[in-house]
């Protein structure tokens, strides 16, 4: 991933000429790139940036879209997923936005993408050093629901004062017998900042750590960007006697038979019938194309439809 100069839009494929390459003007992209670089230099630190109003609403991924816009070059191949799937409506909408405004190639295959924008999931397939994973973040502040004031939480981060978070996790254990956080599970970055990994299920948390790809987090409404450089050590908060445990439905995928992927529960009738299918649609399809099949699936069914 390289950040090229002003004229990169001239070299690209065809994009809507009414807009600059990837929609944002070059000054705005430069401002965002500065925030990204600062974020990479201070892993887990939330860098304020002058988020712009985008043509999609706040809450629809405006932070991720701005980070992607500042990261994309005309040679990139973009993949967009929401809930792990390429075909969810908002993923389709964001992919179309960049097809139109940046003219970049798009793909559904995780291994073919150079930039992946995601909401709520990390792909199952391991990422590589040639990839950038861009997360859409609603509330970047992991301490927000313990302390609503930004002026206070910034102070707490700068002092490394995370006792409140540990008290919250402890209270969970005393009340429920377990830490009652199942997504957006807080992590500690290289022993420094406590960071919100965005609302990914805690099943995905281990993939954050030691990842070869660059991981960028964009929160548009809250005007924050943060980042994990490749191979950053990321630990999910826990206690010695209550170690962190990623969890998923205790079931194989009904389509591809995978035992180790995160599953969506799909209600199939009104008599309590349900099946479990991979949330990562590309992973599931790839497995079925390779001949794996689950209890309810036919090999390669979706690929043929």
């Amino acid at each position: 991933m390289t950040f090229e100069g002003e004229n990169m839009s001239l070299q690209g494929r065809k994009h809507d000429a009414a807009y600059n390459f990837a929609y944002l003007d070059e000054q705005t992209k430069r401002m965002i790139r500065r925030a990204i670089l600062k974020g990479l230099a201070i892993p887990g630190y939330q860098v304020p940036f002058a988020s712009r109003e985008m043509p999609m609403p706040y809450g629809w991924g405006t932070g991720g879209v701005q980070v992607s816009a500042a990261t994309l070059t005309p040679d990139d191949t973009l993949k967009v997923i929401d809930q792990g799937a390429d075909d969810t409506t908002n993923a389709v909408s964001i992919r179309k936005f960049f097809e139109r405004t940046a003219g970049v190639a798009t793909t559904e295959a995780t291994d073919a993408a150079t930039v992946i924008q995601t909401r709520h999931r990390i792909p199952e397939a391991p990422l590589t050093e040639d990839q950038v994973l861009v997360y859409q973040v609603p509330i970047p502040e992991p301490l927000r629901f313990l302390e609503p004031r930004e002026t206070e939480t910034r102070k707490m981060h700068s002092l490394g004062e995370y006792g409140l978070m540990h008290v919250k996790l402890y209270e969970d254990i005393s009340r429920h017998g377990a830490i009652a956080t199942s997504y957006a599970y807080p992590v500690k970055v290289e022993g420094g900042y406590v960071m919100d990994p965005s609302p990914i299920p805690k099943f995905d948390n281990p993939k954050l750590s030691d990842c070869p790809a660059i991981q960028l987090f964009g929160a548009g409404r809250e005007q924050r960007i943060y980042a994990l450089p490749p191979y950053t050590r990321v630990a999910s908060l826990d206690f010695e006697d209550h170690p962190f445990e990623p969890s998923k439905a205790d079931h194989p995928c009904d389509l591809c038979g995978s035992q180790g992927s995160y599953l969506d529960e799909v209600i199939t009738d009104d008599r309590g019938g349900r099946i479990f299918v991979c949330s990562d649609t590309d992973y599931c399809r790839t497995r079925r194309e390779a001949g794996h099949t689950g209890p309810q699936g036919a090999p390669d069914a979706e690929a043929r439809s």
Partner: protein, 364 residues
């Protein structure tokens, strides 16, 4: 056999087509023109310009038409367009003292130089539905008079001459711009005023009303409310002097509030200030009350813990485009997160049913 649901792209295209059809409504009814919206729904246009932070009645009318009259959606369209516009520079500060007033009233003095001018106000209308309008919208003949000198001096200046109202320090500093820089807290007054003038009218109205009902009451009198056109000028570096770009309509409200004083300072009234695009007096008055409430620190008042005094609370929640986006995003798919919650609750319930005390394996 189960095949995962597909077709998001087609669903989106079809939804857009249906939306376009609904926007047009019954094709047998004449289509609204932008001129009609701009001229006959002028207060709506003003609100969209104010909250959209863009003074352009034609674009606001287009946004209102496109948004089917949903004003927050129209504000959003204007904002999203606004961010794509290049910036040539900043205008000279507008001089509201030179405003050509359509309306100018004071609640603190019975009369003052420039007079009380009611202008086109709803204030003393009886709110009776006028069924004649349903059949015939033509306006009756309006009495005409000679145009006088419409400019009038600011009322608060009279109080200032006597030292009865606190002075605002003059500054040539470039005000901050929250549309270009991330908002930083604590915010200074220019930044707060910028946030308030583009804030949601309903949110400001509620906050201002809460101060009147005792949540940080600040005893506001409307010293002056004026609505009219001001000239916008910009200095062109190549020319070395300012040229007139055009006129915009503004509503300005100056409130005269409870006095402060101390052993060293004799008692003085204090100020709240509202300035909003277009004829938007409810918003301008609300803005002045909330501005005054937010000034408690600099005026040496107590923090009463009232919402309108809480700068972070007010500024972080006043923007309706941010608010509506985040509020409405919860209708987007969240099934990955919900699934993880489902698993957790099932697990905790299993543990609770097995034993009074949760076994080791449920702990994580």
């Amino acid at each position: 056999m189960y095949v995962a649901v597909k077709g998001g792209e087609r669903a989106i295209d079809n939804a857009h087509a249906w939306l376009a059809e609904e926007r047009r409504g019954d094709a047998a009814v004449d289509e609204l023109t932008l001129d009609q919206i701009r001229e006959q729904l002028a207060l709506t246009v003003a609100r969209v310009m104010a909250e959209g932070s863009l003074y352009d009645p034609d674009l606001a009318a287009l946004a209102i038409k496109q948004a089917r009259g949903d004003l927050i959606e129209a504000v959003f369209l204007v904002r999203a367009y606004r961010t794509t516009l290049p910036r040539f520079g900043a205008s000279e500060p507008v001089d509201t003292g030179e405003m050509a007033c359509d309306r100018r009233i004071s609640a603190t003095f019975k009369d003052a130089p420039g007079g009380q001018v009611l202008g086109p106000t709803f204030d003393y209308t009886h709110r009776l539905l006028d069924f004649k309008l349903a059949a015939d919208g033509e306006a009756p003949a309006t009495p005409q008079g000679e145009a006088g000198d419409a400019t009038a001096p600011h009322i608060t200046a009279f109080l200032g001459d006597e030292g009865l109202i606190q002075d605002e320090p003059e500054s040539d500093a470039t005000p901050p711009d929250l549309t270009r820089e991330p908002m930083e807290l604590p915010a200074d007054r220019p930044l707060r005023l910028q946030a308030l003038t583009r804030a949601d009218e309903g949110f400001l109205l509620g906050l201002a009303y809460s101060t009147q009902r005792g949540y940080a009451r600040n005893h506001a009198f409307v010293g002056e409310l004026r609505i009219g056109a001001v000239v916008v000028e910009m200095e062109i570096p190549e020319l070395g002097f300012a040229i007139e770009l055009g006129e915009i309509t503004l509503t300005e409200c100056e409130t005269v509030n409870q006095f402060t004083g101390s052993k060293t300072e004799p008692p003085q009234f204090t100020r709240g200030y509202g300035l909003v695009f277009g004829q938007t007096e409810r918003k301008a008055i609300s803005m002045a009350l909330v501005d005054r409430a937010l000034r408690w620190k600099e005026l040496g008042e107590d923090d009463q813990g009232a919402p309108a005094q809480d700068e972070e609370f007010v500024l972080m929640h006043a923007d309706n485009i941010q608010a509506t986006g985040f509020l409405e995003h919860i209708k987007l798919p969240h099934y990955v997160d919900f699934q993880s919650e489902l698993e957790l609750v099932r697990k905790l319930r299993r543990a609770a049913q097995r034993d009074e005390t949760p076994p080791e394996e449920a702990a994580e």
